[in-house]
Symmetry: C2
Subunit: 137 residues, 2 copies
DNA sequence: CTTGACTCCGTACTTAAGTACGGAAGTAAG
DNA sequence: CTTACTTCCGTACTTAAGTACGGAGTCAAG
């Protein structure tokens, strides 16, 4: 039993359901150029497949990490095979950015898990090192 | 030579400059309760210190990582010494969230650095594994 | 003691990212 | 073939997170 039957012939509603977003959000992404206008095999109604589903999910994940739709669109342009040197330069810039975010998140992770540890140890009030975690740049 | 003289007596303008944000943003955070209303030692004008500066920087960092101001406010409440068990439970929930984000970011990091590697190796066009990076949940 | 820069406060405007709406047209089941 | 559900499209509304504005008060230098 396949969980996604007919995945290559989804209507906009099915796509939206599969990705856990609103139909209007799909249309909005199309207008912004984040999602290519798909084929309309039998006339006027668009059909979507696994690629589009993957894209929408990617957009949502990247947003959770603090990327704006404009930034996501740049990331997606990398994917879409721009010229190599150009893609590489852009990827490298993003990489710097991503690594900074990783470092910040790791500091937050450490601070939170230390808070949990301490809280297990001492009973009473705590002051956690959360803010300090993001001081060091 | 100290780079931050009189850090305990900053006006709102100095604080904003030090944190790299707009004065109005500081006032906005105060209204939202993200920043405590500070002392007004000699009358009506507020004075800010290192704590406030730290907070503003923390807010900005957390936002870059995809936390909304409401979420930041929850993180800050942890700091401000709520009762231990409560803080611990909340910290643990956040920790789960943060670890998911970390995993996503690490996948993006891997995908980007692989793209850069490949691009160094083969000359021509590339298709990067960016989208695939966030497929696995 | 005035002048220029800054602060305070309330209110209004802006931008990003959706969400909702309403009417016309497509489509699938009975 | 009708009826109910979708889709399509343009336009308008909403929410979060600021930004800008204007008038009144404050403060430090000249």
């Amino acid at each position: 039993m396949n969980s996604t039957p007919e995945i290559e012939a989804m209507t906009i509603g099915a796509l939206a359901r599969a990705a856990g977003v609103n139909v209007e959000t799909i249309r909005f992404y199309q207008r912004k150029g984040l999602l290519p206008e798909p084929d309309r095999p039998q006339g006027t109604i668009r059909r979507y497949g696994a690629d589009e589903l993957g894209r929408v999910r990617f957009i949502k994940s990247a947003q959770r990490l603090g990327f704006s739709l404009d930034e996501v669109s740049e990331l997606l342009k990398l994917e879409d095979g721009s010229h190599c040197a150009e893609a590489r330069a852009q990827a490298q810039r993003k990489l710097v950015d991503v690594r900074e975010r990783l470092a910040d998140l790791q500091r937050i992770e450490a601070a939170l898990s230390e808070l949990v540890q301490r809280c297990n140890a001492i009973r009473g009030r705590v002051r956690c090192p959360l803010i300090a975690a993001l001081q060091a740049e």
